[in-house]
Amino acid sequence: MKKVLWVPFLVLILLTFSIAPIFAQSSYVLPYPSAMPGSFLYKPRLLFEKLNKYWYFGNFGQFTYSLKQSDKYLVEAKTLFEYKQYLLGYNALKKSDRYFKETLPNLEKAQEDEKNITQNRLILSSAAQRHIEILEIIAKDAPEEFIWQPEKERPSKLKIKAAIQLSILLRNKSL
């Protein structure tokens, strides 16, 4: 009889574990936000980034460069969205996506050159997971749409949530 009493208790414990959401968290570390648009350091930063592209030569170098840039712009986008700078944040997100798209082709080229890409593939997957986590955080507070009204020009509609969803989709392919 006593043994039978234990059964519902065990079932309850098992249910608790199965219901409680388990989040897979990536250990991938993103950088601190650097100079933001509007800062006097922003333009020199852009120039430095352009020059840096040549310093990061080679397939692995280009992969590292693209991923670092993607990280940097994602962090920039998050910060800008937090300050409700939607247009700037949207642009930063697009830049992050553009750089992220360049990561995998570089690894594929490295593989063609008979380089073992296993380690870098894992890094990319880990980065993609971390990016998705950040994008989900951004999506929580971001508006569905934002109408940007520049002076003396036509207003433009920014589909922010859709852009974030696209970014998540893009990173999902690299998981």
Binding site: W55, Y56, G58, N59, K115, N116, N120
Partner: protein, 378 residues
């Protein structure tokens, strides 16, 4: 007698080559037919043998030095000894005391074969590369400046992808810089004694001709710069100093000396070259003593100041550099004997390095006059 001593020396060098091959790494598949577990099974014997080899090296060094001073050995004989030492030790096993040469080889491979920037991409990122099995510090980006990376293209490409050929090309490169440094010392001093003092120093021989360290290239460019400065070719002198700085940044300390010489030239004042060599020696000794702030004092760092001491030939500096040369080579013994870089090895290494120098300096201070009339006659 002369022939006998040189013959004994050549036999000794051959014995040293055999001894060096006892240190072959098990993971070095390219040479594992020569692998024996001797150094691990016989740590005490290995250490005693090493200490004996070092002592014998110094005995020959002082003997040759003395024989040169007594005119028993002429310039031709010294050239022959230097050439023979270089060629014989070319076939010694390079990673006997340090694994740096493997690092040079793999860094060159990252740049020239994989076409990646070694200042960004670490060798260990090339999973599966056969060189990773025996290369230490593969988790570090390139440690040396661009001049060195440029120079390493020569042994890399002349190796045609064959590891053994590449490895020994690196040793050949070190030997070439060794010969060039000896020649440059002669050009500067116009006295063959400086060549004898520097080139036959066991530390220089072991760290350059056996281990193939690039410090010899660092001093070659710095000395060449100094030589051109004496010939009033200022631009070329600074270019050569820059080349030296861009291998290891230690020679950056020589920049004020170069500027000082240029200043004297502009002011039409005579340059006291002995004073310049003394300042260079002290600055490079400072760089050497500052090494523990970065990592630790490695024996091959002594190559930075030894050529300037050989040019200067001032008694006190000479004694310090000779004692350092000996004691630094003894730094390898704690690891050979104990098989660990952890305690108590660091303490023993520090004691071995600094206690003899301190004792000698104290002795010199007390018995200064005794030393004046003894061994060092110039």
């Amino acid at each position: 007698m002369k022939k006998w001593i040189i013959s004994f020396y050549s036999v000794f060098l051959i014995a040293f080559i055999f001894y060096s091959y006892l240190f072959i790494d098990f993971n070095l598949s390219y040479l594992n037919r020569f692998y024996s577990n001797f150094i691990f099974d016989n740590r005490q014997l290995t250490s005693i043998m090493y200490a004996s080899f070092i002592c014998t090296f110094f005995v020959f060094y002082f003997l040759f030095w003395r024989m040169y001073l007594n005119n028993t050995l002429g310039k031709k004989d010294i050239k022959w000894i230097i050439g023979m030492t270089s060629l014989t030790l070319l076939i010694s096993y390079p990673a006997m005391l340090s694994y740096d040469i493997f690092n040079y080889v793999l860094t060159a491979k990252v740049l020239y074969l994989y076409k990646e920037n070694p200042y960004i991409i670490m060798p260990m990122q090339f999973t599966g590369d056969p060189f990773l099995a025996f290369t230490h510090a593969a988790n570090k980006i390139a440690l040396y400046g661009p001049t060195w990376l440029g120079i390493t293209s020569i042994p890399h490409f002349l190796g045609f992808g064959n590891f053994i050929l590449i490895l020994f090309n690196f040793k050949l490169l070190a030997a070439a810089f060794y010969a060039a440094t000896a020649w440059m010392l002669y050009k500067i001093s116009k006295d063959f004694l400086s060549v004898v003092i520097f080139s036959l120093n066991p530390l220089v021989i072991i760290e350059t001709l056996v281990s193939g360290h690039n410090d010899i290239a660092v001093v070659f460019f710095a000395l060449s710069g100094l030589y051109l400065l004496s010939k009033k070719k200022i631009l070329l002198a600074f270019i050569l100093l820059l080349l030296s700085i861009l291998i290891k940044y230690s020679t950056l300390l020589l920049l004020p000396v170069f500027l000082y010489v240029v200043f004297l030239r502009i002011k039409n004042k005579t340059v006291n070259w002995d004073k310049i060599y003394a300042i260079c020696a002290i600055l490079m000794l400072t760089a050497f003593l500052l090494a523990p702030f970065r990592e630790e004092i490695y024996p091959w760092y002594a190559i930075w100041f030894l050529p300037f001491v050989a040019l200067l030939r001032r008694k006190s500096m000479m004694v310090v550099s000779l004692v350092f040369s000996f004691s630094l080579l003894l730094r390898y013994i704690p690891y050979m004997l104990l098989g660990t870089h952890l305690d108590p090895s660091p303490l023993i290494k520090t004691l071995v390095t600094f206690v003899p120098v301190t004792c000698v300096l104290m002795f010199m201070f007390v018995k200064n006059k005794l030393w004046e009339k003894r061994f060092f006659r110039f």
